[in-house]
Structures are given as C-alpha cells and as structure tokens.
C-alpha cells in the first residue's frame, strides 16, 4: 500500500467515556477496541456480546467480531420458528434455537461454522463492500469464492466462458453452492453485517434441523431462502476456524487500517458481569423473545381418523393462539369442537397445558385423538440450558 505521509494518531480507548453503568472499570472489557475474537462458544453469550459491542462502540469506527457457537439453530428477527425449524429434530438432539436481532433467514451453527460480524457507521455501510472483504479473505486461503447479487458467498464450478481481451468482467456466473449466509441490522447511526461461514459443519445435521415440512403453515414473517450448501474444507485442507479468523482479521486490518491488537474475549470476570450482556442473554432465552416475537401465522391441519376427518385452522400472533377453528366430518360433535377451539384461545402456541382441555379430551377417545394430533402438530421445543 502506497503511503507517503505519516499516519495521524488514532484515538485510543477513552476510559472516561463509559456507556454502561458499572463500578469497577479496571479489568472490565471495553467496547472501544476494533477487533474482537470470542473464545466463548456459548451462543447466547456471543449474540449478546455482539449486541453490546454494537450499541456501545464509538459509532464512527469500524469493528470486527469473530465467534463460533456450539450446535444451535439461529433464526432471523422476524421469523416463525415453527415454520423454519424442525422442532422434533431439535428435541432429539437437545439443540436450542435462538432468535437473533438482525433480519434474514435461518442458519445452523456448530463448531465447524465461524461467524463474522462487521460493524460500521451507518452512513458508510455497504453490504457489498463488507461481503467483498470476506471474499478477499477467503481467496487468500486459496479458495475461489464469489459474492452473488444477494451478497451471499458461494463457491463451486463456474459456467464456462472464454474471456475477451481485457474486457469488463461479466456478472457473476453460475456458482452453485453457498458457504455463507448474511444478515444485517441498521440502527440510528450504526449498522452491521454478520454472517456464517461453513468451514466443516455437519451438513447432515443442518439439513435435518432446517427442514420443518410445515407447508400448510402460512406466515407473515420472513421466509428463509433455501440454498444448497457445502463446506469450505472441501476446497482446501488448510482452512479451519483459526486460519479463517486470521485471514479475515488481516483483510479487515488492511481495509480499515487498524493496527490495534486483537481482543480475545473469554467468559469470566470482567465480561460476565457486564449487565447489558447478562440482560441480553436472559432476554434471548425468554419466551417473550424466542416465541413471542413470531409474526402472525395461520396453520391449517387436516387429519383422517378412524371415525372421520377433522380440520383445524389455528391463527396465532406473537406466539399466542388467536383462534382455533375446528370442523369435523363424521361422528363428532361440532359443538364440542367449538368448545375445544375456544379453550385454546389466548394460550401460548405449542405450550398449551393439557390440563386446560382435559375435561374435553377425557370425554371421549375421539377428542383425545384430536388433541393428540393437535399437540403433536404444534410441536415445539424449549431449550433449558
């Protein structure tokens, strides 16, 4: 890089300008550094750390955070978890799902997946530029990846084309497999682009967890765009979490001219007592956030039972059942069905206590069958760490 003048002094960490209310400041982690690598693999911690850094860093300066999580599914801010995630597969593997604060779709994290998060002032934020930064980092590791027009990073065999002499490069050719998904958050004066990077993730688990097969659930929120994925490890035997992290840090340093050392964040004193992060972790675990932020959806069910068929249409908003309309064909009382429906109103979808409908289900096998079918369709999984 051509430099013909000495660099001006960069403002260092301003200890006087705390944005969080704590008493002991000496060994507490500061949000004013530029490059953070989290050594924690706790997804709740990492997402809260990301948010804390996002809200507290000087909003004119760029920041990079890299982290990876133990297996979990992360859904977008405005998504429907029941539609996006296979709850029974989650339950079987004891893997949590977490709603993050940025938009976009659903992804699967495990230790073979590294997450990057680039925070910038809102005015100079450009999705394509940040995606290009990551692309350049990967290319230094010897893998040819491309950024498509949705700013996703993809890899794979390219369509054949014969380049003309010094001609303008054509738009992205057909790269077929994705290695990264991106999402963004934009607030008053700051924005971030964060994304996943599949290095050596268990793709079979990813497939199982992200296939919910709820075609009859129509939701108002954001649907994920499903794409075929592959691991970067397929293309290079030297790529792993550490080499990827180093490559991204190097590229970030180059792009924004950062000389500071990397801050490694470990769980423990000085970090775990940051109130904002603690509150954030609690919020992520709460029902109100995880399920209560679900936009409105309608779920249509139909089941043929020995004695007839029953159809149900459940409407829910913010995780609460607004209405449940049952209709039965065959030997079943419409009135009781309506009673059942009314009983469900106001209940938390997926968390309906069987006791609430016990008197109805105990009336007759048929209603118990209906209830069993209903509760298994409304399958949900609430992770308790």
């Amino acid at each position: 890089m051509l430099r013909s003048f000495p660099p001006l002094p960069r403002p260092r960490v301003r200890l006087a300008l705390h944005k969080y209310s704590t008493s002991s400041t000496c060994n507490q982690l500061s949000p004013q550094h530029a490059i953070y690598v989290s050594n924690s693999v706790n997804p709740y911690f990492n997402l809260s750390l990301e948010d804390w850094l996002f809200r507290h860093k000087n909003h004119q300066e760029p920041l990079l955070l890299l982290y990876r999580n133990t297996p979990c599914v992360v859904i977008g801010r405005n998504q429907n978890p029941w539609k996006e995630v296979n709850m029974s597969a989650l339950k079987a593997r004891n893997i949590p799902f977490i709603r993050r604060r940025s938009g976009g779709g659903t992804v699967y994290h495990d230790l073979g997946n590294t997450n990057y998060s680039i925070h910038l002032p809102r005015a100079s934020f450009d999705r394509h530029e940040t995606a290009e930064l990551v692309r350049r980092a990967i290319s230094t590791l010897g893998i040819d990846v491309r950024v498509n027009d949705r700013n996703d990073i993809c890899v794979g065999s390219e369509k054949i084309r014969v380049p003309g002499p010094m001609c303008v490069p054509a738009a992205n050719e057909c790269f077929r497999l994705y290695v990264s998904g991106s999402a963004y958050k934009i607030v008053h004066q700051r924005a971030y682009h964060h994304g996943t990077m599949l290095i050596s993730t268990r793709l079979d688990t990813l497939g199982a967890l992200l296939r919910a097969d709820k075609d009859t659930m129509v939701t108002k929120g954001v649907d994920s765009v499903r794409s075929p994925v592959c691991n970067l490890r397929q293309f290079s035997s030297t790529i792993n979490h550490e080499t990827f992290v180093d490559a991204v840090i190097k590229e970030f340093r180059k792009e924004y001219d950062i000389r500071e050392t990397v801050q490694y964040v470990d769980n423990g004193e000085g970090v775990d007592d940051i109130e904002y992060i603690r509150n954030g972790m609690t919020e992520l675990l709460s029902w109100d956030w995880a399920f209560g932020q679900t936009p409105e959806f309608t779920y249509t069910l139909k089941k043929t039972l020995p004695w007839g068929t029953v159809t149900a249409e459940i409407r829910s908003k913010h995780g609460v059942i607004l209405s449940a309309a049952f209709a039965g064909e065959g030997d079943v009382s419409q009135e009781t069905l309506e009673q059942l429906g009314r009983r469900l109103e106001g209940q938390k979808y997926g968390f309906v206590d069987a006791d609430i409908v016990r008197d109805i289900t105990e009336q007759d096998n048929r209603y118990r069958d209906i209830w069993d079918f209903l509760s298994s369709s409304m399958d949900t999984y609430s992770y308790r760490p």
Binding site: S124, F125, R161, P165, Y184, H188
Partner: protein, 527 residues
C-alpha cells in the same frame, strides 16, 4: 406571568411565550400541526419494508431520536427513530404490514415553529392545521411532557441536554456543518468505508474530492493521497532544506489496478497462443494526398460546427424532404480525418477477400478434446487498442465493412471519448464478449516507433497489427531509379500460428497493401 409551560419552553431554548400564555384558544400563538412521518430511503435499493414492531402506541410521546419502530427488509432489520419531539397520534402502517419507501409511517403532532426546512423534506402536513381544538390537546401534551422523567442519554453521542433542533440523519439533504463534514459524509459521495475512515482520520472532506477515480466516481485511496500529497509537496518546498520529500527512498509496493491486473491475466493466457510475426512498410503517400480532400467533404452532421449550407437561394427539400441523417452526439463529431479510419476501411476490404481473417476460434470448454473449429463471420469486426488513463482496453467496431470512412472516424472518436473518462466509460456494448477477429494497435500515435511485436490474447481474434508512426523517407525504388520522397508507415503483424500460416498472413497483408497504397480503387467499389 411565567407558567410551568413557559419555563419548559425556556429550557428547550425557545423564545418564551409567557406573555401570550392564556387559556383562551385565540391568544395561543404556537400552533400544533400534524405531520406525516414518511419512511425514508434506507438505501441499498430497498423500496419497501415490513413493520415488525412499534415501540410507541398512540397517543404516545416521543422525543427526537427515540426509537419509533423496527422494520425489516430483505435481510436487514432497521430501527427507525423519531425526527422530532412530538406525540404519535396515529400509526399508518400496522405491525406485520408493508410500508413503501416514501409512504407515511405514522402521524406525529409537533409544534409548527419547530418544523424547519429539513424536517419538511421527510414529513408533510397530514391535514390542514387544526386550530380551535388545539388548545385542550396542547395543554394535555405539555402536561404529559412535563411529567416525563428526564430520559437517560441514549447510547448515541448527541448532546441531548440542550434539545437543539438537529436535522434528522435520515434526511437525505442533511446539511453539512463543521462537525458533520468530518463525522458523517453525505451519501452522495461514493467511497469505500476504508477510504471514508481514512479521510475522516486525516480531516479531509470527501465532498471536495468527489468525483473520484474509482468505479461510478468512487473516491479511492489514491485520490486521497494525491489530494494530500499535493498540499504536502507545496509545504515541503517552502519549508527548510531539512524537510524530507514525501517520496521515500525505500522501495514502494504498489498494487495492480483493476485494468492492469486484467491485462496481466489476459497476457498470461496469451502464452497459450503460438505467435509468429510479420512486418512490412506500407506506402501511404496516396492516402496522404487524399486526406485533405476528404477533410473538406466531411458530412456536416459529423462536424462540430458545420459550415453554412451551400444552398442559399434554392432548397433541395422543395419537392420532398431531402434525406437528413440523424443528429450525431458531440462525442462522435470530429473536424479532421486521420489515417486510422482509412486503415480500418481498407483492412475490412482485405478481410472481405480473406475469410480466414474474418474467423475466430470457436470457444470451447477447457478439456474439450474434440477437434477445434473456426467460426467465420460474414462481416469484418475489428478491435482497436485504446490506451486510456485507466488502462488498456480493446473495444470492437462491428461490421467495419458496412461503415463509411466518416462513420468509422465518428466511431473512433466516440470510443476514445469514452475511454478517456475516469472511470472508463466503455461498457460491454463497446467491448462485447465476441470481439474482433483482427485487432489494430495504433502505437505510432504515442511514439515514433517503426515496428513492434504485439501480443494476441485468447478471444482477441486471429491476428493483431501494430501501426508505427508515418515518416517521410527517400524511396530509391521509385522515380525511375532517381528516388522519390514517400510517406511510409511500419506495420507489424502477429498471428495465431495454430490457424494462420505465414504465407497466408503475408498474402493477406499484400492484399491489404493493394488497398492502402492505391486508395482510389475504393471509388470503383463505390463504398
């Protein structure tokens, strides 16, 4: 008598209206107006967003920069903040609904005098300003505001204590004042985040540098450095001798620019082609004599300032409109013809006779083991090497044989005009994937070279010719042995020996020479 409300106004830095404070509506001077707060352009080509959550429900008091709602678009979740203090009276888009950019999000009731010009750009009056009913509403609003506990400063750094009216950052016409110039640049100036960061560090206003040398006028690091080096160099000349020159004596590592790197890659690929060369000298004395004649009859629509029509008293269009060619844009107009259009035209004539030089190697997949084929075109497409401030390009002129010499001159003028712009104005329209079958490089325009050995690139056709500089020489072969002064130009060919034989190239060049050295035969061929 200064009431509570008047004191509050003083705190907010507004002139006191204490003397006008009355319970009767007619005396109330500060009017409330209902403003429609529109969804501003979030940027990045987003045209609509879904409202995920409202943080305030009507009637809810908001202060400037309080979070109003959260919207989602594509993969981005965006927090929208309130542009001013006021009361949210009505939500125009409910949670779960989609709002289009430019559409109203909500109605906020504000003090009329607090609306400045900037605010009016992203809000508009929702309805004719209410009058008589205002008073009760106003008092209620003031009371609720006074009951509000002073809110803690938000994580943003603005000084809230003075409650100064600041233009909302979402306002695209945010006026730059001293601090904002250094802190947040207007979106109209394009620059990579790294460049903005650097500029901010160095206290450079990017607006002064716009447009830059990058794509779409982006300001690049080199523009910043050039801007600063310019200032620095001036300082160093006036300072004492002990001051160092900005240019260090150590090695400097420079990255290849995009076009130069493109040239690098293309040239590496050119190693696949077995080149052979062939050079000769063309006698362009006859062309030289024709040129001034042609210059006098350049069709008027190609001339930047055409002479007055020769028809003063009489009009060819009297009976029927005479054909008038379409107007030609300024970039295509020229006032003097050069040799290059004549070379191209004569070359196209030779290409017409020689299908081999109208052929290109059919593109095929790497690893395809079938026999290679040639694709012969009915027309002569010639690429021209263009050296521009941003790099070397080879745009193509299609169907040269259908062009007249004048329209070729116009085309060349247009290409060099596009090429000379920074960033380069050449597009895939001028540089199509299917380039010319012959490339012409007029390197003689740069230096007094005689011969060169040009390099072919894959996809660049079967042959390339470099034209040297024309020079007057004494030709001893002419003038019955006495010799004659002739204008000669060196031409150097390189061809792809996989498909072109040496003898074929030599014969083709002789065919071309026959046109170049006797251009009058073009009259017979009536084109």
């Amino acid at each position: 008598m200064l009431g509570l409300q008047g004191r509050l106004q003083l705190l907010r830095g507004r002139p006191s209206r204490a003397s006008l404070f009355h319970t009767s509506s007619t005396a109330w001077a500060s009017r409330k107006v209902l403003q429609k707060f529109k969804l501003a352009d979030i940027g990045e080509g987003i045209t609509e967003c879904e409202v995920i959550k409202w943080n305030v429900k009507p009637p809810g008091v908001v202060q400037a920069f309080d979070q109003l709602c959260e919207v989602q678009s594509d993969k981005a979740s965006v927090e929208i903040t309130s542009p001013f203090d006021g009361v949210v009276k009505e939500l125009l888009v409910q949670e779960g609904e989609v709002a289009k950019v430019g559409e109203g999000l909500c109605l906020i009731e504000v003090d009329e005098d607090s609306l400045d010009e900037n605010a009016k750009k992203f809000t508009e009056p929702a309805s004719p300003p209410l009058h008589q009913e205002q008073e009760a509403v106003q008092r209620k609003a003031f009371e609720t505001r006074s009951e509000q506990p002073p809110s803690a400063p938000t994580p943003a750094q603005e000084p809230h204590s003075s409650r100064k009216r600041r233009p909302h950052p979402l306002d695209p016409n945010h006026p730059p004042d001293a601090s904002t110039i250094l802190e947040s640049f207007s979106k109209n100036v394009l620059a990579k985040p790294a460049v903005r960061h650097l500029a901010r560090e160095l206290g450079v206003d990017l607006n002064k540098l716009a447009p830059g040398s990058g794509r779409d006028g982006r300001i690049e690091k080199e523009d910043l450095e050039r801007y600063l080096a310019g200032g620095r160099k001036e300082e160093s000349t006036t300072s004492t001798a002990s001051a160092h020159q900005p240019q260090s004596s150590a090695d400097v590592v420079v990255e290849l620019g995009r076009t130069r790197y493109g040239m690098w890659k293309a040239m590496e690929k050119s190693l696949q082609i077995p080149h052979f060369g062939y050079s000769t000298t063309l006698d362009i004395t006859n062309l030289h004599h024709i040129l001034p004649l042609l210059n006098t009859c350049i069709p008027p629509h190609y001339l930047p300032d055409p002479p007055p029509s020769p028809y003063q008293a009489i009009n060819p269009s009297a009976v029927h409109p005479a054909p008038s060619p379409p107007p030609v844009p300024a970039s295509r107009q020229f006032s003097k013809l050069t040799y290059l259009p004549l070379f191209l035209k004569t070359l196209s004539k030779a290409m017409h006779e020689w299908p081999l030089f109208r052929a290109s190697i059919t593109p095929r997949a790497a690893g395809d083991t079938a026999k290679p084929t040639l694709t012969v075109r009915p027309y002569a497409d010639i690429s021209v090497a263009l050296s521009t401030p941003t790099g070397l390009y080879t745009p193509t002129i299609q169907r040269v044989d259908t062009h007249s010499v004048f329209s070729l001159a116009a085309e060349l003028k247009h290409l060099s005009h596009l090429g000379r712009q920074t960033p380069c104005g050449l597009t895939p329209a001028e540089m199509p994937r299917r380039g010319g079958t012959i490339t012409v490089s007029n390197v003689g325009a740069i230096g007094a070279g005689d011969f060169a050995s040009p390099v072919l690139v894959p996809g660049g056709g079967v042959a390339i010719v470099a034209l040297g500089r024309a020079k007057w020489v004494w030709d001893v072969d002419r003038g019955d042995g006495k010799g004659e002064r002739r204008l000669k130009i060196g031409v150097s060919w390189s061809a792809d020996h996989r498909v072109v034989e040496g003898a074929e190239l030599a014969a083709f060049v002789e065919c071309w020479r026959a046109y170049v050295e006797m251009p009058e035969r073009l009259i017979g061929e009536a084109v």
